[in-house]
Each structure stands twice: as C-alpha cells, then as structure tokens.
C-alpha cells in the first residue's frame, strides 16, 4: 500500500492525523511537539492563497480555535487547530510566499508547531492511516468537492 492515499486527485498521506471536518492535519514530532497544517483538499477549495496570517509564538490555543487566517481570491477563513496547546513555532515563509500552502501543503506549507496540552485525549477525535483516506473519501463524495488542482 502506498504511503499516500489519493481522493479525487487530492493527496492524503497515511502517516498524518486529520481533522477531516476542519481540513487540517497533524504530524507528531520526536520532541513531543506536533506540526499542524491545511490539507490538500483545503488548499484546493480555497484556491490560490493570496495571503496567510499566522498567530504568534507563545499563544495558547484551545482545540477548534484559529491558528491563522487565509485569504484566497475571494474567500477568507480561519485555519482551526485540531489540538489544544501552545504555539512554539510558526512558518515564517508563509508571509512572503503564501502559495506554499497550495504547492506543498504537507511539507514547506506547514502552519504552526505546537506543544499539545491534551494530546492523548484529543488524538482520539482525529483519524489516521486508511481510516483517514476513507473518511476523506466519504466527505469529498458527500459534498461533491471538486478534484484537486496542483499549482507548481
């Protein structure tokens, strides 16, 4: 089985945790922090991102609260954190090149790193592996989300 699930052309890496409803992903890091970002499906729905504004390091955010906002050609919306915790790093590159969110949503387009405060409990609400791919598939089909375009 490939490490990356594909749903209507959108990439869903199986090694990440997802909040499918909020279109965010979480990667666990060796130092106990987690990296949070927007999914490929989210960047596709938003379209080319013109501007991204990320909250500041040191801020504590409860699950579901915004860690940043993105503005595409015509839509503004929050990126909601799928886990509670303190923001310990933000992706400074997004200020100059917000389309990293479109080009590399799981890599250079990461949004924040957080020190989670309730990971063991909150991870239960996230999905990973094949379950994540299936859940995303259901959502994309239920809501008839268009196939992913990837900008280079």
């Amino acid at each position: 089985m490939s490490d990356v699930g594909i749903v209507r052309g959108c990439k869903i890496p199986r090694d990440l945790y997802y909040s499918v409803e909020d279109h965010t992903w979480v990667r666990t890091n060796a130092d106990g922090t987690v990296t949070v970002g927007m999914t490929d499906v989210a960047q596709n729905l938003a379209g080319p991102v013109l501007h991204a504004k990320v909250k500041k390091v040191g801020l504590t955010r409860a699950k579901g609260k915004p860690i940043g906002t993105v503005e595409s050609a015509k839509w503004v919306g929050p990126i909601k954190t799928p886990v509670s915790g303190e923001i310990v790093a933000v992706n400074e590159k997004l200020a100059d090149d917000p389309q990293l969110l479109n080009r590399d949503p799981y890599g250079d387009g990461w949004v924040v790193k957080m020190k989670p405060t309730d990971w063991d409990a909150e991870v239960k609400a996230l999905v990973t592996g094949e379950e994540a791919v299936q859940k995303y598939k259901e959502k994309v089909e239920r809501e008839d989300i268009k196939a992913c375009d990837h900008i280079e």
Binding site: L45, G47, L50, H51, K53, T69, E71, S72, A73, K74, W75, V76, G77, P78, A95, E143, D144, I145, K146
Partner: protein, 362 residues
C-alpha cells in the same frame, strides 16, 4: 417542510453596525440559529477595507478625515470600497452545510436573487465568475465570502447608485494620473440601477422584489425576524472591537499593486529601471488589452513629441507578449524614434510586471 430563512431588514443604521451586524450573527451562531439574510444600508458613507489589507497603504486617510468619511475593516477579503446608503447590502449568514461547497457556486447562488431583482426593473444582469455581477459588460456589483465563527458568510449589494468620484478619491494611489485612470475606469466599466434607468428606484420597492426572489430561488420560506439577545450582545462587543485603532491599523500584509475595477478591468502602475533610465507606466488593462496608459520616467525619447504618439499607438493593443513585441517594433520602425538604453525587451519587461501584478489577484 423546508427550514425558513430568517430575514432581518435592518433598514438604515449607523455605518459601523452595517458591518458588525452580520459578523455578530455569524459569531453568535449556534446549531439552533436559522440561516439568516440581512438587508441593511449605512446612514453615512464610509470606507471599508478587506480583512488582510493595511489601511494606511490602501486608503487616503487625510482625505477621509477632512471629509469625515469613517474607515473600518471587515472580516471578508478583497479591496477597499466606498459604501453608502445608495446600496442595499445583502448579507447571508448560513450554516456551512447549507451553502454550496465551491466558492464560485456560492457566489452564483448569492447573485441569483439580486440579478432577478434587477430583471424586474428591466435591467438584464448576468453572473461573471468569480464574483462579479455585470450588465452589458459593466460591473454592477461584487461579492465576498468568508468563514466567520461557525458560519459561512456571503455578502454583496443591490446597487441603486454609486459615487465613483468619491470612490476614486478615497483610495491611496501613487499619483493623480493613476487616480484619474481609476476614476475613468469606474465611469466606463461600472453601472448602477440609476444609470440604467435614468433615476434612482425606490429602495423599498427594490427590497420587496428582492425578498420575493430570495424565497422563490432558494425554495425556502422567508420569515421576518430580529436579532436575538445573544446576537445583540455580540453586536455591542463587535461595535467596540471594530472601533479600536488596533483593529483598523492591524498589519495586514496583503499588498495589492493593482486596483480591480471589474473582473476583466484593472488599473496598475509599475516602474522599471532600464539601462537608459526609469520607465514608469500607469496602465488600464481590459481583457488582456491595453485600454489606456500613461508613460513617464527619466529616459530619453527622441523626438519627445512622439511619446504621446507611442501611447496612442499602444491603446487597444493586445498584451500578449508576441503581439505586443510586434506592436512596439512597428512603432519604432515607422516613427523612427530613438530611445538610447531602452530596447523593446525593456518595454516588454515593464508590461510583464504589470500583468504579473494583475494575475496575482485575479
């Protein structure tokens, strides 16, 4: 039985509340909140900047202060706009599962009852993706969308009339030449019900027709309602927050180096340091052609009087690089001009910079 849409006809209210009202309904949204459509007019003109814009960079604040035009910020994207009571704002605050998933479909959906209302007055309007409404190629309004709180919001307006002169005046622009290009652009490529009909229609009649179309097109009953206690409390809190300097002057970082007139028409300005000197071009672009332009700088153009002829030669020509190269080469050959240190390549670079600025925002 389909769930009714709550209609809040807020009438003419203080300018700030014409913004905070839909934010308040969105932020106070609970699972029990009905999908809501708000109709509102501000009682004084004001300028509203997009969520990520920097106010000082976009708005001529001295002018606004002198003319007592207040300025505020919305949580919806896009550029700075002048709003007054000659527009009836349509603000939909819906549960996310009740709006079309794709943003462009959401705009088409929001535009439908607006266009049908114009149709009742004999004005045939059509949707121009992504987010414009046009009448015979002229823009009669735009739309914006945002996720606010737990709600999805789409906003637009019924355009009774529009003050193009003040709109062009409140924007911060590099120079008066640029301002004139924006003003002429608005004059040429915007329209209103008043322009189409020769008179301003009765706002109450426009609203009545809009509400009827809303009910019919969304196939849901529309019931007049009011803000709840919770929404009113949120409104007071937001009135306070939207009045702070921190809110107005927060660093946005979204720089728009071109001003959109409508989906196909932009005004931009750029400068380029060529070996022969600085070239500055203010350009109005229409559907990838040069609609109007002004060239200045400190380069040598010999004979000097041919610069105006060069501008005239470029008007109406395609900006497609190969075609533009031909156009410029033709002029150099025919007019026998000399521009030391400025080659055709350099002109193409300046125009290319402007096209990039526009492409970034369209």
């Amino acid at each position: 039985m389909k769930q009714p849409i709550r209609l809040i006809d807020a009438g003419r209210i203080p300018y700030l509340e014409s913004q905070t009202i839909y934010h308040a309904v969105a932020y106070a949204m609970t699972p029990e909140t009905p999908d809501t459509a708000i109709l509102v007019r501000p009682d004084t003109p004001y300028v509203c900047v997009g969520f990520h814009q920097e106010t000082e960079r976009e708005v001529d604040l001295d002018y606004c202060r002198e003319h007592r035009i207040p300025v505020t910020r919305r949580e919806v994207g896009g550029g700075a706009v002048l709003l007054d009571d000659r527009q009836i704002f349509t603000q939909w605050v819906f549960h996310p599962e009740h709006v079309p998933m794709k943003v462009v479909d959401r705009f088409r959906w929001h535009a439908a009852p607006i266009m049908a209302t114009y149709g009742d007055f004999g004005v045939e309007a059509n949707f121009r993706p992504i987010n414009d409404i046009h009448v015979k190629g002229k823009k009669i309004g735009g739309m914006g969308a945002a996720a606010i709180g737990n709600a999805e919001v789409v906003v637009s307006s019924l355009m009774l009339d529009f003050d193009t002169r003040t709109m062009a005046r409140v924007l911060k622009v590099p120079n008066e030449k640029f301002r004139d290009k924006v003003f002429q652009g608005l004059e040429n490529y915007m329209t209103t019900l008043a322009r189409e009909l020769g008179q301003v229609p009765d706002p109450e009649e426009v609203k009545r027709r809009y509400i009827a179309h809303l009910e019919k097109l969304l196939q849901r009953p529309v019931e007049e309602g009011e803000l709840t206690v919770g929404e009113k409390a949120m409104l007071s809190a937001l009135n306070e927050r939207f009045s702070t300097r921190e809110w107005l002057f927060q660093k946005g970082g979204l720089v728009r180096d071109a001003v959109k007139i409508h989906a196909g028409v932009w005004v931009g300005e750029t400068a380029y340091k060529a070996p022969g000197g600085l070239i500055r071009i203010t350009l109005r672009i229409r559907e990838n052609t040069i609609d109007d332009l002004a060239i200045s700088g400190d380069f040598t153009f010999y004979p000097q009087h041919q610069l105006a002829a060069f501008e005239a030669h470029l008007r109406g020509k395609s900006l497609e690089p190969a075609a533009l190269r031909n156009t410029i080469e033709q002029f150099y050959t025919a007019a026998k001009v000399q521009t030391p240190g400025i080659e055709v390549e350099h002109w193409l670079t300046v125009f290319g910079q402007l096209l990039d600025a526009v492409a970034k925002h369209s």
